[in-house]
């Protein structure tokens, strides 16, 4: 399909249905525009903006799949406009481009993603161990390999948009961090030098249990991060250690390892609550992670 479409693209007309509207309502508007070789969806949207609809709102920055600005839903599939080649779409039919439907609309293709920033501020930042004079941080590559996969995230929030927990159930936005932030929590949780135990926090305040591992976040991630397999499920397993596994509990009692940090204590290390963070440091609550506290 794709090669044929590409060779005759010069003579073809594209039918683009772009969402136009704001919070007072909207609809798809159809634009017909000649096809050109080698374009991505964002190119076509830009040509429409230049030639037919100068007031069309569309957010973009890098056109290289690295800034995470141009997230949208193309023929109903959440994707980056700048990374979706026209040659992969069937141009015999109209192509719909709608804004991400999981977030509030600002205008046309632009959504308000501030939900994600609100969650980010509630996540306790990296808590380094206390170092002695002259001591330096040392990490082995194998210990940070796992976290580095999650560092590829470009914060396009396509995963947050597609996740049915909040997409289809708006009320869960209060209690659910979403896949991108489970990856962040997992990254910190697996970090060899981080001293804060975020397991109960992940489960009790960020709603890890709401995720039913149906993997849509993984399906849409433009960076190919295995969010479900490498972040969410490993985090769920760690939560089982902390909350649900009687043998793990017994093991802690026998070996004298500390109990999992209560969610409220871990939450007090969030940037959002810097004052509480300083108070917690003064109380010596840093360093309670069972795996790193002895180090």
């Amino acid at each position: 399909m794709s090669t044929e479409t590409a060779t005759v693209a010069g003579q073809r007309t594209l039918k683009m249905r772009l969402w136009r509207g704001d919070e007072s309502g909207g609809d798809f508007a159809t634009y017909e525009i000649p096809a050109q070789e080698g374009e991505v969806v964002l190119d076509v949207v830009h040509r429409i903006q230049a030639e037919e609809a100068p007031d069309l709102a569309v957010r973009w920055n890098c056109k290289a799949g690295k800034c995470g600005s141009c997230s949208a839903e193309i023929n109903g599939r959440p994707a980056l406009m700048c990374m979706t080649r026209m040659s992969t779409l069937n141009i015999d039919e109209p192509i719909t481009v709608s804004p991400m439907r999981g977030f509030p609309i600002i205008r046309d293709l632009v959504t308000d993603v501030s939900f994600n920033y609100a969650v980010a501020r509630r996540i306790p930042a990296f808590q380094p161990p206390k170092l002695a004079e002259g001591e330096v941080f040392r990490m082995q590559q194998v210990d940070v390999d796992r976290s580095q996969e999650f560092r590829k995230c470009i914060e396009c929030f396509l995963c947050q948009n597609v996740c049915h927990v909040i997409r289809d159930h708006e009320d869960n936005k209060e209690s659910f961090a979403g896949p991108r932030f489970f990856a962040r929590l997992a990254e910190l949780e697996m970090h060899p030098l981080d001293t804060l135990d975020r397991r109960r926090l992940s489960s009790e305040q960020f709603g890890l249990g709401l995720c039913n591992i149906t993997k849509c976040c993984t399906e849409v991630c433009p960076e190919g991060i295995h969010i479900t397999d490498n972040a969410i499920i490993p985090l769920k397993e760690r939560v089982v250690d902390a909350r649900f596994d009687p043998v793990a509990w017994l093991g802690r009692k026998i070996t004298g390892k500390p109990d999992p940090t209560p969610a409220a204590v871990a939450a007090s290390f969030a940037p959002e609550t810097l004052e509480q963070q300083q108070a917690a440091r003064a109380l010596g609550k840093v360093g309670s992670h069972p795996q790193t506290s002895g180090a």
Partner: protein, 290 residues
């Protein structure tokens, strides 16, 4: 991450706002053009067929041991041997049938609790039945069943946070049992080389060996296994052997967990069916290779 001036604790926190107007057509309007319903339809078909077969096989309570034909083949649905039918099974001499001859219920019903529990709580099967049977969601960017209607059936979505789905968290205990079962099925595969007093190999032997291999590939690719054998530590560098197992066995097989979930499911049913065909006379002869 936001940089916060320690002198001025962050005052500009963006509150999560609930219920603002979203863009695009309502979620109930599915914009996907591809045939997204094929995958859930295949999974419903596959799992339903297996459930029907397994129910029949479990209640059959007979035709599961080929001892009378000179073959030490015991159906995996009825292994380990608990009843008199398979008491000549050489591999188990010593611990013989546990259930007396008075026992009337099919031993498969006792045995299958463990593999069934393992698969029901498996992260992969959870994904597949949440999507295909629960329709939660049926496919990505397709709304959850009920959620799209203003008075949808499912008022509130609670995922795995409440009973009964909270029970999914015991998956690792089923994994421990599954390792024992994989061991038993391996033993059955070895026993399948026993031809009377000599060693041989028949088509059945091959089927049993493949069965054991697929069960191991599925069991060792389990997410709980991946966690227990190394994934749960933050300093893999300090545990050379756990790191090796985590990296080269558990994580590698985990990438193919879906594949092995299906292959092992189909093959175990086929293994049972082969024994049934052999012992009920549908096929008269198990070809012997040597």
């Amino acid at each position: 991450m936001t940089v916060v001036d320690p002198a001025k604790p962050n005052m500009s926190v963006t509150a999560v706002q609930i219920g603002k107007v979203r863009g695009g057509p309502p979620l109930s309007k599915v914009l996907r053009r591809d045939r997204w319903w094929i995958q859930p339809a295949l999974i419903v078909t596959g799992l339903t067929l297996f459930a029907i077969y397994a129910t029949w096989a479990a209640f059959r309570n007979g035709h599961y041991y080929a001892g009378s034909l000179g073959r030490d083949y015991l159906s995996p649905f009825y292994s380990p041997c608990l009843a008199h039918i398979c008491s000549t099974k050489g591999g188990y001499s010593g611990w013989g049938p546990i259930l007396g001859s008075w026992w009337a219920i099919s031993p498969a019903l006792l045995i299958l609790i463990f593999p069934l529990g393992f698969r029901m709580t498996c992260y992969y099967y959870r994904k597949s039945y949440y999507r295909s049977f629960w329709l939660s969601p049926p496919a990505c960017a397709v709304p959850d069943a009920g959620s799209a209607k203003p008075n949808g059936r499912r008022k509130r979505y609670t995922g795995e946070t409440r009973f009964p789905l909270l029970i999914q968290n015991i998956h690792r205990y089923f994994w421990y049992a599954a390792v024992a079962f994989a061991g038993i099925l391996t033993w059955d595969a070895i026993a399948a080389f026993r031809f009377g007093n000599s060693i041989g190999m028949g088509l059945g032997t091959l089927i049993f060996v493949i069965n054991a291999a697929l069960i191991w590939a599925y069991t060792l690719g389990c997410h709980s296994c991946r966690h227990l054998c190394g994934g749960g530590t933050n300093r893999l560098s300090e545990h050379a052997s756990r790191y090796w197992i985590w990296k080269n066995i558990a994580s590698k097989l985990n990438e193919k967990h879906q594949l092995f979930a299906w292959l092992s499911l189909v093959w175990i049913a086929f293994t049972d069916f082969y024994i049934y065909m052999l012992t009920s006379g549908i096929i008269h002869h198990d070809p012997r290779f040597f």
